[in-house]
């Protein structure tokens, strides 16, 4: 896993030609001198960086979007540091963009308009484990997997488990309302966040939600989760603790036809079974994963399903048998049940290293994230292969099949002329096909800048106007991570905070 992300990061950074660096931060150092001095005075010299390298690193995330432009980068150590940074930024008429680990795949953490960037990674402590209330308070920079490790001795865990969990932060998870394989049964981040302490755009500190079941007033917590850094900066999060299930059964189902695998997914749900996870990988992905992680997947299968059922032992055995039956009825060529924790871990390792494995196939990849009704997976997958073939590209499919959340990975070599255009065109068709099937633009990676201009395809002007009201209720002057999510016509009219340098490109 660690290797996967290290590779992902290296790829992102390595694919840039060094000469781009200076261009990425035009004239940053001198024009920002006064701003930097104020930031240093507010939170200390060791917490502010304004050199080109720091800005370069803070200018992008793991998406293919490379036009981010970071101002000074701050590394707050406390809520009050964040408050001070927001105050200074406002005084200098600059926006603020928070970032976690930068593993986002939609450009959400790519700063637009040279804002002050708040890198939250130094606020990474577990503040409190409160077993009586079933919650833990954590700082936003805490890495998802570190939280799970810290909770393990208590027999509980934090359920949302993005494949990037070894690197991504709880703050990033909250901002993107992230999912993961086990969110099929347990729900996405929003269902696991009870309260968030937020530094608002006016530098006030507010706690949204509380530990009661039904806090008074509007569900501001719910409105904040998934707001991609545009409604304020999370500085502490109360997450729900989930009891570890008494029993777990992990199964690898192999098929020699992709459609049989997809039909099995729909049939499992239709039978009234909600497994903890149903993940699907097609042959190209299985091969890449085997070359990379030796998880023991059958290379000759056209597709495999990784299905996990959990709960009390009796029901797990019944549900496991039913799943196996359904698979066999749909022509599964093999049904393998993990015999012990080691085997289970190996099967999951294969799934979670899929993105890293892609690097062995082609130097570049574009990972898409759309959702379709889970009853339509068979035809959707056929359409994806057809689209990709037509554009003469390679696709690897690895995705959260149980909730219809597709992740087609277009693997390519950007050095081959014309490839970029073909990748874009195929991606566009996949997105539009997903919407035409009654689907959604994104299931867990967010809109960011990547899908901003597609929002008009999914939502009407009235819908988007409502969304911008939500945003404006939190941040009336659009100071927080401006330029994301809402298409230009629905973004803030007050773009004074955005620098003229790249405003034209961003605001169109």
């Amino acid at each position: 896993m660690a290797r996967t992300l290290a590779d992902a990061t290296r790829r992102v950074l390595g694919s840039r030609r060094r000469g781009d660096r200076a261009a990425a931060v035009p004239g940053a150092d001198d024009t920002d001198a006064a701003l930097v001095a104020d930031l240093v005075e507010a939170i200390g010299a060791d917490r502010v960086r304004a050199d080109a390298a720091a800005r370069y690193l803070a200018s992008r995330d793991a998406s293919i979007y490379k036009e981010g432009n970071a101002g000074p980068v701050c590394y707050p150590g406390s809520t009050s540091d964040v408050v001070e940074c927001v105050k200074v930024a406002t005084r200098h008429a600059r926006a603020v963009s928070p970032r976690g680990a930068g593993t986002g795949l939609a450009g959400g953490a790519a700063p637009l308009g040279q804002p002050v960037v708040l890198s939250m990674t130094r606020m990474d402590r577990l503040l409190e484990i409160d077993l009586d209330n079933g919650v833990a308070w954590v700082q936003p920079g805490m890495v998802n997997l570190d939280l799970s490790r810290a909770l393990a001795p208590h027999g509980v865990h934090y359920a949302p488990d993005p494949s990037s969990q070894a690197a991504c932060t709880i703050g990033g998870n909250v901002a993107n309302n992230s999912g993961g394989p086990h969110c099929l049964a347990y729900g996405v981040t929003s269902a696991h966040v009870l309260a968030v302490e937020v530094v608002m755009s006016d530098a006030s500190v507010v706690t949204l939600g509380d530990l009661t079941a039904e806090p008074a007033g509007y569900d501001l917590r719910g409105a904040f989760v998934g707001s991609e850094g545009m409604c304020g900066i999370a500085t502490a999060v109360a997450v729900r603790l989930t009891r570890n299930p008494p029993a777990v059964r992990t199964m690898l189902l192999s098929f020699d036809d992709v459609s049989d695998a997809a039909t099995t997914v729909s049939a499992i749900i239709a039978a009234g079974i909600v497994p903890a996870a149903i993940e699907m990988m097609d042959q190209r992905c299985v091969t890449a994963v085997e070359d990379f992680a030796q998880a023991g997947y059958p290379r000759d299968a056209a597709a495999v399903l990784l299905v996990e059922v959990d709960g009390p032992a009796g029901g797990v055995a019944i549900a496991g048998e039913r799943v196996a039956d359904i698979a066999r009825r749909n022509q599964a060529i093999s049904v393998r049940t993990a015999a012990d924790d080691d085997e289970r871990a190996r099967l999951w390792k294969g799934r979670k290293s899929a993105f890293g494995a892609v690097a062995n196939v082609m130097p570049d990849y574009y990972l898409h994230d759309t959702v379709v009704p889970r009853t339509r997976l068979v035809e959707v997958l056929e359409r994806i292969y057809e689209i990709v073939d037509r554009h003469d590209l390679i696709v690897l499919n690895v995705f959260h099949a149980g909730d219809g959340n597709l992740h087609p990975i277009l693997a390519y070599d950007s050095r081959v002329p014309g490839t970029g255009e073909r990748v874009q065109a195929a991606g566009r068709e996949i997105i539009e096909m997903s919407l035409d099937m009654g689907g959604a633009l994104t299931g867990e990676h967010g809109i960011g800048v990547e899908k901003r201009e597609y929002m008009n395809r999914m939502f009407s002007a009235v819908d988007l106007d409502q969304q911008s009201r939500l945003r404006a209720s939190f941040d009336p002057h659009c100071r927080m991570n401006p330029g994301k999510v809402l298409p230009s016509a629905h973004s803030c009219s007050d773009i004074g905070a955005l620098r003229a340098s790249d405003a034209a490109g961003v605001w169109g």
């Binding site: 008074a216 008494p246 969304q467 939500l470």
Partner: protein, 308 residues
């Protein structure tokens, strides 16, 4: 993008573009968050199930549909939603009240039920929030904002809800004189209610697992089958799970009570004393209301800050 059906457009026309207006559902929680201002025009949300897709585990339903009727329909395919069933209560009313079922421990809270909402905005136009799929993070989460908003931000006409399978076995049992904490080991408990002496438990799941839990409970003391939960006192208190489990101490103020263990809601005989709300939260509530309903025409007089 969506084409709205006739029932929805007719509802929008009825809501119109001006004048104070409120929606009457089943009237079961009519006074929640305050009385509607005098002179407010009453409208009714459309009724009926639009599409139930058991294999998708979703149901599209109009807001005026009674929850009990909806659940009857879903039960045909062994499914239900997490909405509470109150005599006469409607889907829209349950969502706008935002109060979860007493089986919240097993079913999850009401706020996670809503996948998509089509609602009439203050200006009379119809907006759609969320998506038609079980997973979605496209844009800001208006659905979460709407749940529990008492119809003060928009008037919901049609929704897509998450459904899920009803447990193979469901059984209410009562344990006399037990510490509710002792019940924690039951994995199939979908509801644990405690009145300071007895504990009522709804077990839900595969029969084998329910039986396992039953023998675990029998070891704790006399455990008897009962028809359902105890009668719940009328006032809903918002508590943390820890406060609910230790509720005894405050019995004087609350009167006889039934606490939802593991959730935090307490049903008490007296209303909950005012719980102060952070001024920043009050200010945000005001800003949301102002942005979404600038003239204050939607359910005037109601204020979610005044729940429960």
């Amino acid at each position: 993008m969506t084409e709205f059906d006739e029932a929805l457009t007719a509802f929008a026309a009825e809501v119109g573009t001006d004048g104070p207006v409120c929606v009457r559902g089943g009237g079961t929680r009519w006074s929640l968050g305050g009385e509607v201002a005098p002179g407010t025009r009453e409208v009714q949300a459309p009724e009926g199930i639009v599409a139930f897709e058991p294999a998708e585990m979703t149901v599209r339903v109009r807001a005026g549909t009674p929850v009990a009727g909806l659940h009857e329909e879903l039960a045909g395919d062994g499914q239900r939603t997490a909405l509470p069933e109150r005599a006469g209560g409607t889907v829209g009313g349950a969502l706008m009240a935002g109060e979860s079922s007493i089986a919240c421990l097993g079913l999850g809270p009401v706020r996670d039920v809503l996948l998509q909402a089509r609602y009439v905005c203050a200006d009379g136009r119809i907006a759609s929030a969320g998506a038609g799929t079980v997973k979605n993070v496209s844009g800001f989460d208006l659905c979460r904002l709407l749940v529990g908003s008492l119809g003060t931000l928009g008037l919901v006409g049609e929704v897509l809800l998450r459904t899920f399978p009803v447990g193979e076995t469901e059984r209410w049992v009562r344990l006399a004189g037990t510490d509710p904490g002792a019940v924690r080991s039951c994995y199939t408990a979908a509801s644990v209610l405690w009145d300071s002496t007895d504990v009522w438990i709804l077990l839900s799941g595969y029969a084998v697992d329910v039986d396992d839990d039953l023998s675990r409970l029998a070891a704790l003391g006399a455990c008897e089958d009962v028809d359902g939960p105890p009668e719940l006192p009328p006032h809903r208190w918002a508590c943390t799970p820890a406060e609910a489990a230790a509720f005894d101490a405050r019995n004087g103020a609350a009167g006889p009570f039934v606490a939802e263990i593991g959730v935090g809601v307490v049903h008490a005989s007296q209303p909950q004393p005012f719980r102060p709300v952070e001024s920043g939260v009050v200010e945000l509530n005001r800003r949301f209301k102002e942005r979404f309903d600038p003239t204050g025409r939607l359910n005037p007089g109601r204020d979610p800050l005044r729940k429960p």
